[in-house]
C-alpha cells in the first residue's frame, strides 16, 4: 500500500482526511502513483497533471524521502521506503511567494 499526502485543497476536493492509501502496481513510479490516485479519485484528474499531456502542473511538486522528485522523469523508480509504505509520497502545492 502506497501512502500519499495531498495538499489541503486537493484533500477537500477528493473529500478525504489525512493521508490516502492506494494500491499501486509494480514498478512503483510517479506515473504509476498518479494513475492509481486518479483512478481512485477521478475528481483529481487535471489538478495535479494535465489531462492530455500528463505533464505536472507548474506549481505542483513531488517529494519523497526528503528528495524533490518533481523534475525526475515520471517513470523513475521510487525509493523502497515509498514502495513499502514506510514513507509517504508527498504531492505539494508550491509556495506562493510574495
Amino acid at each position: 500500500m502506497i501512502r500519499v499526502v495531498l495538499p489541503f485543497h486537493l484533500r477537500n476536493l477528493a473529500r478525504v482526511d489525512g493521508e490516502v492509501e492506494i494500491d499501486v502496481a509494480s514498478p512503483v513510479t510517479v506515473r504509476a502513483i498518479l494513475d492509481a490516485l486518479e483512478a481512485r479519485y477521478p475528481v483529481l484528474r487535471g489538478t495535479v497533471r494535465d489531462h492530455d499531456t500528463l505533464k505536472r502542473r507548474p506549481f505542483i511538486r513531488f517529494f519523497a524521502c526528503k528528495e524533490d522528485l518533481s523534475l525526475e522523469p515520471p517513470d523513475t523508480l521510487l525509493p523502497g521506503e515509498i514502495v513499502s509504505g514506510a514513507e509517504p509520497f508527498l504531492i505539494v502545492g508550491a509556495m506562493a511567494g510574495g
Binding site: P7, F8, H9, L10, N12, L13, E38, A39, P42, V43, L44, R45, G46, T47, V48, H51, D52, R57, F59, I60, G93, A94, A96
Partner: protein, 388 residues
C-alpha cells in the same frame, strides 16, 4: 412570497446570500470552496436549483462544480459512482477538461509574434434558458465551450476562434470570454464579448461568428479606426424583451446598438467618467440602465473616492448619480465586469459587489442602497435568482 438568492463569487470562495421579497434581512452561506477563486456562479433559468460554478486555482487548475439543490450541496458533474466509469471501466472525471478543438492555433502575443492558445480558466458560465443540462462556458485564453450533459463534458464551439483570432491579443488582465448573452427570442443567436478581443455574434448556434464592432472607437488602444477586433469590451447586456438592443461598457465609452450590434453609438453623455466595467438593465424598464463609473484605465477606483452608481432612464446619454447608502468619501474599490445583477421582483432589485468585499443591494431600482455584507474577499461576480 418571492425571495431572492444572490450568488457571489470571490477571490477566496463562493457566498450565497438569501432574503425574502422585502430584501432587508439576509442570510449568508459560505464560504463554499473556501480558498479557491470563484470566478462565476450562475443558476439555470429552467431549473433554479441547478447552479453551475467555476472554481479555479493557480496551483490546481480549473474545476466545475454543480449544485442541484440551490447551493446547499455541490458536486463535480459526473462524479457519482455510476457516472465515473467509462465503457472500459476506466474513470472519466472530465468535467474540468477543456480542450481546444482541432489544431490549437495561435493568437497575437505581446512581442508581435503568434502564440499558441493555452487554457487557463473559465471566467463565465451561462446556463441555457430552457435546458438545465446545457450551458456555455467562456474561457481564458478566449474560447467558448458548451455542455449538454450538465457539465460532465465540455466541447468547444471552435468557430469563434476562426474569426480573425490571429489578431486577438491579451491585455494585462488576460484574454477571456467574459460575457455570453443568449437571445431569448432566437435560440441560434448568441453574443459574446472578449476583453481586448471585441464583441462577436453567432446566428447559427455557434458554428460561425462575426465581429460586431462597427462604431466602436478605441484610439488609445487601437490606432486603426476601422479595427474589427481588438476592442476592449468590458461588458454587454440586453433586456430579454428587446434582444436586438444591447448596451456596452467598453474600456472607455458606454454605447448602445439597436440592430443587434451592426452599428454602435456612444451614449456616455454626462457621466463623470465613461470608463468602467459592469453595465446592466432594469428588469422591467428596458431603457433604464446602470453603470459604475471608474476614474480611468490607470486609476481603477471611483472618481473622487465616491462610489456612485449611475442610472439612465433614457437608454443612455442622460445619467443621474445614485448615492444614497453608498460611501461618498474615501472609497477606492473597483466593481468588476461580472459583479452586477438585477432581480425581477416588482420593485427591481440591483446588486453589485466590490473588490473591497462589499455586496450592495438596492430594493428600489437604485434609489437607495444597503451593504448586504461588507467584509468578503474581493468580489469577482454577482448573480441573482428571483425565486417563487
Amino acid at each position: 412570497m418571492s425571495k431572492v438568492r444572490v450568488l457571489a463569487g470571490t477571490k477566496k470562495g463562493a457566498f450565497i446570500l438569501t432574503a425574502d421579497g422585502k430584501r432587508k434581512d439576509w442570510k449568508v452561506s459560505g464560504p463554499h470552496f473556501a480558498g479557491w477563486e470563484i470566478y462565476h456562479l450562475k443558476g439555470s433559468a429552467a431549473d433554479p436549483d441547478r447552479i453551475y460554478a467555476s472554481q479555479t486555482s493557480g496551483w490546481f487548475g480549473q474545476i466545475i462544480q454543480r449544485s442541484d439543490d440551490g447551493g446547499k450541496t455541490w458536486n463535480t458533474p459526473g462524479s457519482s459512482p455510476d457516472e465515473l466509469k467509462g465503457p472500459e471501466g476506466m474513470p472519466k472525471g472530465e468535467s474540468n477538461k477543456f480542450v481546444y478543438e482541432g489544431e490549437v492555433g495561435k493568437h497575437l502575443w505581446y512581442d508581435g509574434t503568434q502564440h499558441p492558445w493555452e487554457f487557463k480558466r473559465i471566467w463565465h458560465i451561462e446556463p441555457s434558458l430552457t435546458d438545465p443540462d446545457t450551458a456555455y462556458a467562456g474561457a481564458e485564453d478566449a474560447a467558448i465551450f458548451k455542455t449538454t450533459d450538465g457539465g460532465k463534458t465540455w466541447k468547444e464551439l471552435s468557430g469563434l476562434r476562426k474569426t480573425k483570432s490571429h489578431l486577438w491579443q491579451p491585455g494585462a488582465g488576460g484574454m477571456g470570454v467574459h460575457t455570453i448573452l443568449l437571445d431569448p427570442k432566437n435560440e441560434k443567436r448568441i453574443y459574446i464579448a472578449i476583453s481586448a478581443g471585441g464583441c462577436f455574434r453567432t446566428d447559427d448556434a455557434g458554428k460561425t461568428w462575426k465581429p460586431i464592432t462597427r462604431g466602436l472607437k478605441s484610439p488609445y488602444e487601437l490606432p486603426d479606426p476601422d479595427a474589427e477586433v481588438g476592442h476592449c469590451v468590458h461588458r454587454i447586456t440586453l433586456h430579454p424583451s428587446r434582444p436586438d438592443v444591447l448596451f456596452m461598457q467598453k474600456h472607455w465609452d458606454v454605447l448602445r446598438t439597436d440592430d443587434a450590434g451592426e452599428q454602435w453609438n456612444e451614449v456616455s453623455g454626462n457621466l463623470p467618467a465613461d470608463f468602467g466595467f459592469p453595465i446592466d438593465v432594469h428588469a422591467h424598464e428596458p431603457e433604464t440602465i446602470y453603470v459604475v463609473p471608474i476614474t480611468s484605465d490607470s486609476l481603477h477606483y471611483p472618481p473622487e473616492g465616491k462610489l456612485r452608481v449611475y442610472r439612465s432612464k433614457t437608454g443612455g446619454n442622460e445619467w443621474e448619480p445614485l448615492t444614497k447608502g453608498l460611501p461618498q468619501k474615501d472609497c477606492y474599490v473597483n466593481v468588476l465586469r461580472d459583479a452586477m445583477a438585477v432581480d425581477s421582483l416588482d420593485k427591481c432589485g440591483i446588486y453589485f459587489g466590490t473588490t473591497g468585499g462589499q455586496v450592495y443591494g438596492s430594493a428600489d431600482g437604485g434609489n437607495s442602497w444597503n451593504a448586504i455584507v461588507r467584509d468578503l474577499p474581493a468580489v469577482y461576480s454577482v448573480e441573482v435568482q428571483t425565486l417563487p
